[in-house]
Structure formats: structure tokens, C-alpha cells
């Protein structure tokens, strides 16, 4: 018996690793996906080692250095309070990354739970859950986040909540669709016939097989959430000053755009490259996980 289960485990490991290797193989042949991956890893490293890389304290005010053009001492210039833009950009990566990852995780967890139950059990539960999803989807994404943030007040914790709560509907629909597709397959029937419980079937058999589009959507969603966080901070509803955030840096620079354009250029470039990285990676993953797309392209 134990030999059998060991053999199963080995087979499982072998299959998993070969699947991942295959996906990685396809991913690394896609130059754009590699550029995306590079940008994302670069952002993570910058955020992790911000205190080592940044030459100045990002919140240190030095009025004598106010609005200095980019120079050797301040690579991206300084803002109206004399703070080093380069250091603020580097620390701003932290806010963007944390919000992107945490808010997306909240959406993912809510979406997976609702989508899996809805798709697996169907019936009235499905109808109820899908009506709730419809209600949340009836609001434009950014507008609902703005409304929630206005009522809750600006803080990092509230951003997690607001962006997490507005983003789960797409996950729920995606998972529900996948679950409905997978639950009719033979291996689920087999699992059920040997007496596997619903929880085990959902967690061990259905979700892992419904995961591919979720991974793709997650990469794309993190980019969208980072854009939304920048927008919220720009409106004064995001990360509280003086903590650096790319969106609030743009808001602070907006009044100086005509005589100190560097205040606006660099935070914008940072947001753009980050979101581009996630979009490239998401697109690359989509192609790697769905080889049929590539085949169609070759045809």
C-alpha cells in the first residue's frame, strides 16, 4: 500500500515538475514575457532593498534644496520640500507592490471561495452568489473604490480593503466557469465514486485544474490594482503623506508641471514600467499556459 502511494507521489511530483518546466520553457522563449518578468523582479528587489538603494531619507525635508533640477547629487531632482525624488520613487515601489499583492490576494480569496461554491453546488446558491456578483460588477471598478475610500478615509489598510472588495467579481466568474467545466470530467466522477468528500474534491481536484486562467488574470490584475492605487493616491484617497507613493507624488507635482516637470515625469515612468511589466508577464503566461494560442498563431 505504502509503495503504491509513494509511487503515486513520485508520479505526481514528476508530472507537476514537468508541467512547470514545460510552462517555463515556453515562457522563456517569449522575449516580451521575459522583459515583463525582469521588470517585475526588478520592482520586487527595489522594494525589498529600498533602504539600501535609496541615497536619502524619502521624507527628510531640506527646504534649501527645494525644486533642484536633476543633477549628480539628486539624480531625479528634488521636490518643493527639497526631498530627493529618486529616493521617494524607490520607496514608492514598496507602497505599489504591497497594495498590488495584498489587494489582489483579498480579491483572489473572496473570488475563489464564491466562485468555487457557486460553480460546484449550483442551484439557488449559485443564483444568489451570481446576483451579488452582478451588483458589485454594476459599479465601474475605480468609481466604487473611490466611493469606499471616501467614506472610510485614506489609509493603507483601507486601500487593501477597498481595492480587494471591488476586484473579486472577475475572479468569482472566472473560477465559477472553470469549476463548471471541470466538475463534469471523468476524474471528478472517479473521485466522487471512491467516496471523496466535497471539500477534498474542490480543494485537491477542481481548483488546481481551474488555476491556469487565474494565474494569468492575477498578473494582469496586479498591474490594474497598482494603476488604481496611483489614481486613488493622486486624488488624496490613498497612502497618507508624507509616506511616498507614486500617485501622491504626481498630485504634489501637478502644480509645478510647467516649471519643474521632473516632479511629474519620474513617478509616471515608474508607474508605467511597473504596470507594463505585469501586463507583459500576464500576456506571456497566457501564451505559455495555453499552447493552442501559439499553435493558432503559427498556423
Amino acid at each position: 500500500m505504502s509503495t503504491n502511494s509513494d509511487a503515486d507521489k513520485t508520479l505526481e511530483l514528476y508530472e507537476t515538475s514537468s508541467l512547470f518546466l514545460e510552462i517555463w520553457d515556453r515562457l522563456k522563449r517569449n522575449k516580451r514575457a521575459i522583459l515583463g518578468l525582469f521588470l517585475v523582479i526588478f520592482l520586487i528587489l527595489v522594494a525589498l532593498f529600498a533602504n539600501v538603494i535609496a541615497p536619502y531619507d524619502p521624507v527628510q525635508i531640506a527646504l534649501k534644496d527645494s525644486l533642484k533640477e536633476p543633477n549628480l547629487a539628486h539624480l531625479m531632482g528634488t521636490d518643493v520640500l527639497g526631498r530627493d525624488i529618486f529616493s521617494r520613487i524607490i520607496y514608492g515601489a514598496r507602497a505599489s507592490l504591497i497594495v498590488g499583492v495584498v489587494a489582489t490576494s483579498i480579491s483572489l480569496v473572496i473570488g475563489v471561495i464564491i466562485g468555487a461554491f457557486s460553480g460546484y453546488y449550483g442551484g439557488w446558491l449559485d443564483s444568489l452568489m451570481m446576483r451579488i456578483t452582478d451588483i458589485f460588477s454594476a459599479f465601474p471598478f475605480f468609481l466604487l473604490a473611490i466611493a469606499i475610500m471616501t467614506f472610510l478615509g485614506p489609509s493603507l489598510l483601507n486601500i487593501f480593503f477597498a481595492l480587494g472588495i471591488v476586484g473579486w467579481t472577475n475572479y468569482a466568474r472566472l473560477i465559477r466557469g472553470q469549476v463548471i467545466l471541470v466538475k463534469e470530467s471523468k476524474y471528478i466522477e472517479a473521485a466522487r465514486s471512491i467516496g471523496a468528500k466535497d471539500r477534498r474534491i474542490i480543494l485537491r481536484h477542481i481548483l488546481p485544474n481551474a488555476l491556469a486562467p487565474v494565474i494569468v488574470y492575477t498578473a494582469l490584475n496586479i498591474g490594474g490594482v497598482i494603476l488604481a492605487e496611483a489614481g486613488l493616491s493622486f486624488l488624496g484617497l490613498g497612502v497618507r503623506p508624507p509616506a511616498p507613493s507614486w500617485g501622491s507624488m504626481l498630485a504634489e507635482g501637478k502644480d509645478f508641471i510647467f516649471n519643474a516637470s521632473w516632479l511629474v515625469v519620474w513617478p509616471g515612468v515608474a508607474i508605467f514600467l511597473t504596470v507594463l511589466g505585469y501586463n507583459l508577464l500576464g500576456e506571456g503566461l497566457r501564451n505559455a499556459l495555453d499552447p493552442r494560442l501559439n499553435l493558432r498563431r503559427i498556423k
Binding site: 465601474p140 473611490i146 486624488l235
Partner: protein, 310 residues
């Protein structure tokens, strides 16, 4: 068809109730007493109590919600704390500006997006095609409000050819909507380009296109008459929803360009903590979103009889 429309409208009722419940519930997220926020801290308890009674805030939650729903159904979206004006009246005053901006953004996005998409599909794997693919990615990654600022800098300050702020007073002045329209529509333009490209590539591979070519028709006729006509169906069905999203996404662009529309009104309300206005605008824009969605669905059903009988 009429049965389909009636069924679709009935399906909307729970969604509309949910939307109103969510927007109503937002008020309870506010930390502290809304009456104190409205009147300031230095008001006697008696005055506060009488205002609370007047606004019906002393009633139980369900009664308050039903009042809110009843008022909203009669076009009463509450009253601004700051301007002491009806929110619905404020909305009516601002709608034309936001509507014009969304139309300008849609027009720019569809015209250029479709053109770029068609050209890239016709010249697949050329430099132009690679450019389009990158353009699509860039469009979806650029923060629109940052693009707005860059456009202000380039066209308003360096070249001085277009106005960068305001709507030019009463009436419609096209030049005030070009830069904000472009900035707002840029991401949609990229989306249309990508959508048109893939849809066009699919259509160009169809048998009837080969037949048209075999008949000896010119390339232009094949591409524009036979190809584009069919390739644009998925694009056109997307246009309605995109327009509603643009209406809901105007806040950042209207704020940067100081365009006095619904988005700018929302921005001012946020900075002054004018909660009824935020609540009213959110409810209104969600309603616009739902109604446009309904119209899109009805037009699908009108164009494609299969949907009606599902």
C-alpha cells in the same frame, strides 16, 4: 423580442436594489456622526437632535433605507452638505460636460483604434504590426491622468496650440475636449486596436474572403467592404460598455483639465467630505452603467436572434 426585453428588465430589479443598498450602506462606513460632520462640532445637542429628526436619521436602518430608496426613485439623490443644493440638480448641470468628454474620448478611441487595428491585420508581421502590438500594451499600462499631464505640457505649454484647462464657458467648445478626450480615450484606443486586429485576422482567414479575392475584387474592396464590415461586429458590441466605463472614469481627467463635469464635482466633494454628493454620483453612475448594459444586451438580441431564444 418584447418578452426578452421585459425579462431582462425584471432581472435588473435585484441588481438595482443591491446597488441602492450598497450606496446607502456606504454612509454607515463613515467614522463618527454625519450630523456633526454636516453642522460642525460646536452645535448644541438640541439642534443636532432636531436636524437628525428632520433628516430621518433617528429612524431604524430599514426605514432609513426605504426612505432613501423612495426618494431615489423620485429622482431625489439627497442634498449637498456644503452647497445645500439638490444633488440631482447638481448632476443635471454637470452631465453635458461629462457626456461630451465621454463622446470625444469614444470617437477618438474608435476612429484611431479601428484604423490602427485594420492596418496591422492587413500587414501582419510587418513593422506596423509589431508597433501596434506594443502600442496596445503601452496604452493599457499608461496611467491616463499622467498622460493627461504630459499632453498639457506638450500641447498646451510647449506648442501652445490647445487649451489645457476648463470648458470655455457656456456652450460647446470642441478645442477644450481634444486633449482630455485623447487622454481619457487612449487606453480604449489601444483596446480597440487589439480587438480589431484579432477580429480582422480571423475574418481575413474566412472562406468568403478567399472567394471575394478569387472573383478578382481589389484588395481595398475585400478588406474594407467584406472584411471590415464583419470584423467590426465584436468591436461595435464592445463600444456601448466602453462608453459607460469612460463616463465612470472621467474623475481623474476632469480633475487634471479642470473640466466642470460630474468627475470634477466628485473630486471636489471628496476633498470637502461632502458625502451625499459622493453617494449620489456613485449611485447615478452605477445606474448609467446598468442602463447602458441593458441597452447593449437588447441591441445584441436585436442583431442576433439566437440570444432571444436562449
Amino acid at each position: 423580442m418584447i418578452r426578452f426585453i421585459i425579462r431582462r428588465i425584471f432581472q435588473l430589479i435585484p441588481v438595482l436594489l443591491g446597488i441602492s443598498m450598497l450606496t446607502f450602506g456606504m454612509m454607515s462606513l463613515v467614522p463618527g456622526d454625519p450630523v456633526a460632520l454636516m453642522l460642525g462640532q460646536h452645535i448644541s445637542h438640541q439642534t443636532m437632535d432636531s436636524v437628525r429628526q428632520e433628516l430621518g436619521l433617528d429612524l431604524p436602518f430599514l426605514n432609513r433605507y426605504l426612505n432613501y430608496l423612495w426618494n431615489a426613485l423620485h429622482g431625489d439623490f439627497g442634498r449637498s452638505y456644503i452647497q445645500h443644493q439638490e444633488v440631482s440638480q447638481m448632476l443635471l448641470d454637470k452631465i453635458p460636460v461629462t457626456f461630451r468628454l465621454a463622446v470625444a474620448a469614444s470617437a477618438i478611441a474608435i476612429t484611431f483604434g479601428v484604423l490602427i487595428g485594420v492596418l496591422s491585420a492587413v500587414r501582419q508581421y510587418s513593422f506596423w504590426d509589431t508597433f501596434t502590438t506594443f502600442f496596445t500594451l503601452i496604452g493599457l499600462s499608461l496611467p491616463t491622468f499622467w498622460l493627461g499631464m504630459v499632453l498639457q505640457l506638450v500641447f498646451g505649454v510647449i506648442f501652445r496650440i490647445l487649451p489645457i484647462s476648463g470648458s470655455g464657458g457656456e456652450g460647446f467648445h470642441l478645442q477644450y475636449y481634444i486633449l482630455p478626450g485623447f487622454a481619457l480615450g487612449f487606453a480604449s484606443m489601444a483596446m480597440y486596436a487589439g480587438l480589431t486586429r484579432s477580429s480582422m485576422l480571423e475574418v481575413l482567414g474566412e472562406d468568403y474572403i478567399r472567394t471575394a479575392r478569387a472573383k478578382g475584387l481589389s484588395k481595398q474592396v475585400v478588406v474594407f467592404k467584406h472584411g471590415m464590415k464583419n470584423a467590426l461586429i465584436p468591436v461595435s458590441t464592445h463600444a456601448g460598455m466602453d462608453f459607460a466605463s469612460l463616463m465612470g472614469g472621467t474623475i481623474l481627467i476632469e480633475t487634471i483639465f479642470s473640466l466642470p463635469g460630474i468627475g470634477y464635482m466628485l473630486f471636489n466633494a471628496i476633498s470637502r467630505r461632502d458625502y451625499p454628493v459622493v453617494q449620489g454620483v456613485t449611485l447615478f453612475l452605477a445606474l448609467v452603467f446598468v442602463v447602458v448594459n441593458l441597452l447593449v444586451d437588447i441591441s445584441y438580441a436585436f442583431l442576433n436572434p439566437q440570444i432571444r431564444y436562449d
